[in-house]
C-alpha cells in the first residue's frame, strides 16, 4: 500500500513509547494510517516490535523501532538521536505510553519494585518529554500525550506504585502544559479504563464479566478507541486543549 500523503498527520513525525503491543501499537498504527512517519520504542520483546513494524509498513508509512529502557537517561538520549535520524527530523508528536506495573500490597512492596514502576511510568515520561522539547520549542509547536490510568485518579489496591506514578503523570501533564503553552505546544493525557489487550486475554471469563459490570458502558474498550482519543489530542481539532485528561473508560471514573 502506498503512503497516505494527505490528512492531519501527513508529514508529521510521531513517537510512541511502548509501541510494540496493545494500546501503543494501536496508536502507532492509527497515526500511520493518517500519514504520519512513526517511531516506536520497546523494552525487550524484539519479535513484538518486528511484528508491529510489519503492520505499520503495510499501511505504506515509514516506521522505525528502537529498543530502549525509557527509565534510563542515557538510553533515552540514544533512542531519540536514532529516532530523529530515522524519521528525518525533530519529533512533532510524542505519546508517552510505556509503562510497567507490579501487583503487591504496599506493606509488602519491595523498594526495587516501587522504583522500577516509578522510574518507567513517571521518570520515563519526564526523560522523553525533555528529549523532544528543544525541537518543539524551536518550531513553536508540538503535541505530547501521556497515557495515564483511572488508578491515578481513584487509587487502586495492590497497585500503589502504579497509581502513584499515573497520578504523578497527570500532575506532570498539567505542569508541563503550563510551561510550554506559549510555544504552541500542548500537553494532555488520556486515561484508558480497562482495555481489551493481550494482557487481559488470559483473564478468566467470570472475572472479566465482573469487571465489565463495574463499567457503565458495560464492556471493555478496544485499543483502537484509546488510539482515537490520542489522535484527537495530537491533531488540529484539539489545538485549544492543553493540560487536561480525556477519560476513555466507559464511564468508570466520570471525572
Amino acid at each position: 500500500m502506498s503512503a497516505v500523503t494527505t490528512g492531519p498527520f501527513a508529514g508529521r513525525r510521531v513517537v510512541v513509547t511502548g509501541g510494540s503491543r496493545g494500546i501503543g501499537r494501536a496508536t502507532a498504527l492509527a497515526f500511520a494510517r493518517e500519514g504520519a512517519t512513526v517511531g516506536i520504542t520497546y523494552a525487550q520483546r524484539r519479535e513484538d516490535a518486528e511484528e508491529a513494524l510489519a503492520v505499520l509498513a503495510a499501511t505504506g508509512a515509514s516506521a522505525h523501532a528502537v529498543q530502549a529502557d525509557v527509565a534510563d537517561a542515557t538510553q533515552v538520549t540514544r533512542m531519540f538521536d536514532e529516532l530523529r535520524a530515522a524519521l528525518g527530523g525533530h519529533v512533532d508528536v510524542l505519546v508517552n505510553n510505556a509503562a510497567v506495573t507490579h501487583d503487591a500490597l504496599l506493606m509488602m512492596l519491595t523498594e526495587s519494585a516501587w522504583d522500577r514502576v516509578l522510574d518507567t511510568d513517571l521518570k520515563g515520561a519526564y526523560l522523553c518529554c525533555r528529549a523532544v522539547l528543544r525541537g518543539m520549542i524551536a518550531v513553536h509547536g508540538g503535541r505530547i500525550v501521556n497515557v495515564t490510568s483511572p488508578a491515578g485518579f481513584l487509587g487502586k489496591e495492590g497497585a500503589a506504585s502504579y497509581a502513584a506514578a499515573k497520578g504523578g503523570l497527570v500532575a506532570l501533564t498539567k505542569s508541563l502544559a503550563r510551561e510550554v503553552a506559549r510555544f504552541g505546544i500542548t500537553v494532555n493525557a488520556v486515561s484508558p479504563g480497562l482495555v481489551d489487550t493481550q494482557i487481559l486475554s488470559g483473564m478468566a471469563a467470570e472475572r472479566r464479566r465482573e469487571l465489565e459490570r463495574q463499567i457503565p458502558l458495560g464492556r471493555l474498550a478496544t485499543p483502537d478507541e484509546v488510539a482515537a482519543a490520542i489522535l484527537f489530542l495530537a491533531g488540529p481539532a484539539a489545538a485549544y486543549v492543553t493540560g487536561t485528561t480525556l477519560h476513555v473508560d466507559g464511564g468508570l471514573t466520570m471525572l
Binding site: L133, R134, A138, E179, F183
Partner: protein, 92 residues
C-alpha cells in the same frame, strides 16, 4: 570569531529571538538577561523565555546548555553568555 563580533551576534540573537522592542545596541553587556539584578534592572523576561533562548543559543553557536545550573551561569548577563560560548568552544 573574536569576542566583539560574538557579542554583537549574541545581542542580535537575544533581541530578534525573544522579540525585544529595542535595537541590539541598546542591550547592556552587564544586564541580567532573565529576572532583575540588584538594582532592579532587567529585560522583563522570565524563566520560560529562557527555554527559547537555550534552544536558540544551542542551535546558533553549537554549545550545550543541558540544565538549570549551566543555564544560570550562561545567562547571568550578555558578557557571561559571550564568555560561556567562548569557553565551550575552547573546550570542544
Amino acid at each position: 570569531m573574536d569576542r566583539e563580533a560574538l557579542r554583537t551576534e549574541v545581542k542580535q540573537l537575544i533581541v530578534s529571538g525573544l522579540r525585544l522592542p529595542f535595537p541590539p545596541a541598546d542591550l547592556r553587556d552587564d544586564i541580567s538577561i532573565f529576572g532583575e539584578d540588584a538594582g532592579g534592572n532587567g529585560l522583563g523576561l522570565d524563566s520560560i523565555d529562557a527555554l527559547e533562548l537555550v534552544v536558540l543559543v544551542e542551535e546558533r553557536f553549537h554549545v550545550s546548555i543541558p540544565d538549570e545550573e549551566v543555564g544560570k551561569r550562561a545567562f547571568a548577563s550578555v558578557s557571561a553568555l559571550v564568555d560561556f560560548i567562548l569557553q565551550e568552544r575552547g573546550a570542544a
